[in-house]
Symmetry: C2
Subunit: 380 residues, 2 copies
Amino acid sequence: MSISSFPTIGILGGGQLGKMMAAEAVRMSINVRLLSPKDAGPMQAYSGVMAGDWTDPDVLRDFGADCDIITVESEWAPAAEAADALGDAVDVWPSTHTLELIKDKGVQKQHLADADCPVPDFECCETVDEAVAVANDFGYPVVLKQYRGAYDGYGNATVHSDEELREAWPDLATDDGLMVEMFAEFTRELAVQVARRPGGEQVVYPVAYTEQENHRCHAVEVPADVDDDVAEKAHAIAQRSVDAAEGVGLIAVELFEMPDGRVLVNELAPRPHNTGHYTIEGCDTSQFENHVRAVLDWPLGSTDLRRPAAVMVNVLGEREGTPAQPDTLPDALAVDGATPHIYGKPDVRPGRKMGHVTALGDDRADARNRAEEAADALHL
Amino acid sequence: MSISSFPTIGILGGGQLGKMMAAEAVRMSINVRLLSPKDAGPMQAYSGVMAGDWTDPDVLRDFGADCDIITVESEWAPAAEAADALGDAVDVWPSTHTLELIKDKGVQKQHLADADCPVPDFECCETVDEAVAVANDFGYPVVLKQYRGAYDGYGNATVHSDEELREAWPDLATDDGLMVEMFAEFTRELAVQVARRPGGEQVVYPVAYTEQENHRCHAVEVPADVDDDVAEKAHAIAQRSVDAAEGVGLIAVELFEMPDGRVLVNELAPRPHNTGHYTIEGCDTSQFENHVRAVLDWPLGSTDLRRPAAVMVNVLGEREGTPAQPDTLPDALAVDGATPHIYGKPDVRPGRKMGHVTALGDDRADARNRAEEAADALHL
């Protein structure tokens, strides 16, 4: 059935990031296979879906037999297992080296610091007493972070005193302790998407301003309203960080803009990222298309903005349940010039990312108003 | 597996138009079913595909059981059979009334003329003698057209004399003869896309200039380089024509701009159309998304251009064979700011539409250069 001479890209993951990668590949007639541990989800619209135990070497070999390249939707997908099962038969991008580096926040930060990428001061602490000493050295507040798996306010805590630190430690700490990080009193959180080919060729996207609510990304405004020298620094640091991690594919770099004009790296995500969803409508080439191009080692596309401003607003779940309710989609469509993406997750949870809306405009305020209005109309 | 409370749209057709409709629906988590008489083609990337005898009432009932709405990829899909098989259970849009009206070029032209939509002079002629008389009345050259199924230079002929007319007649004429049309010595061919909801609400796209080569659309430039009053006339006539045909969904109106400033309707296509592919990247809402919105009777989206100019160039097959060769896609991707669409047809034929490229830009020439360069690089 497939146009077999077109390449086949295998995606480990069946969530919204895999779905949006698949959409770009399918447009170019690139064959898509998706492997997911679940049999329902955003990828269900595509025919090349396989559900199974994606850590099982036999499953991975079966899946990979058909693929010219394997990539991941997330750093938590079993890339190492796929690389082991498939050996030299199929390349896995990003490399397991890059993924291992990024998955451990302590290793990642140290690696970035060693490569002269500015990061907030941090120490990896094995014991609570060590952590208290480091915190007193940095000055409170400090952030305690688990090395692996922390996201969106889970697996970390901001503490303001020895007492708070000692209280938070037992619930958070793992066998190797926690990372203690100086609390960055940032002016803004920024993000920069970089696409990089195996040989090192890069393209970089505009600097995005990311607005958080309750430790979650609420909105992304592009271009960020920052001074030119901050934007230049953000670009340079993002590109250097991605080189340092030897990232291949799309890598998102989350940054802090500091009051003194410094730009610090918060963390890397070795894949298309929520802060880059605006690129689908907003840029000549989306982050998902450039991810596909990069892992195939094909020429990367222009990252120019199509309109002066692009704004994305997330649509979060509001209740516990299944399935999502579509009744409000027409209300969102009534907002002119807003493009809704509904991921198609079969289960709703409060705060879960169920979709997003992007609006383009002549200025940030105009695009923001329309994106917010449409996102507000959606209740999932 | 499906998010069952989101609507399900059933598309009769498995070609590139169905594929591009499906892409927009899937983004919004609208469930998609595709029914095609062939088991391979552009739709194969999607899971909701059914291959079978799509004129068989049982097949259609099986297909439609799951659908909230049925639409067609082309006026030649068995919409009437679907409407008969499904009765009141599922609406079919566009209506069979609209499709029947449009499929017969004689009926279509008469209907448009009756609704005060300007069309080139024409007569439906049953015999060759009648045709010769009409041709002498109009003055040569005239165009002979089959009532049904003619496209891209097939099923019609331009003749310059009684002799040529009499020679062409026997090969072309069907039982009810042929339509004889005054040859429109147009300045330009134009096209306007209109989306219309069942209640009559419309949105209209910019006026597109369509450039033909060997009776096939080669390139589309938007906005067309025409005087404001020509653009106004084109919009008004297109919208009136779509109302006259009671079109629902996306309807493409092909027009002639005449040297004296008149705008005439050439013909309607009751579906997204090659001349509107530029809208995917070029407009806030693509023709495919507005088709999906319209047949679901949902609010229609903004048709504003994202950049000052958009140009689409078709990629035609160059050889007889199977499957298509992908080797040249990276060359096309090396052209900055050009977006290739490869339809994924399993068979190549010389002149067959295998894909297209769209480029946006500050002006038509800039966008045209990049679209042409990328399309030239593709050999399928």
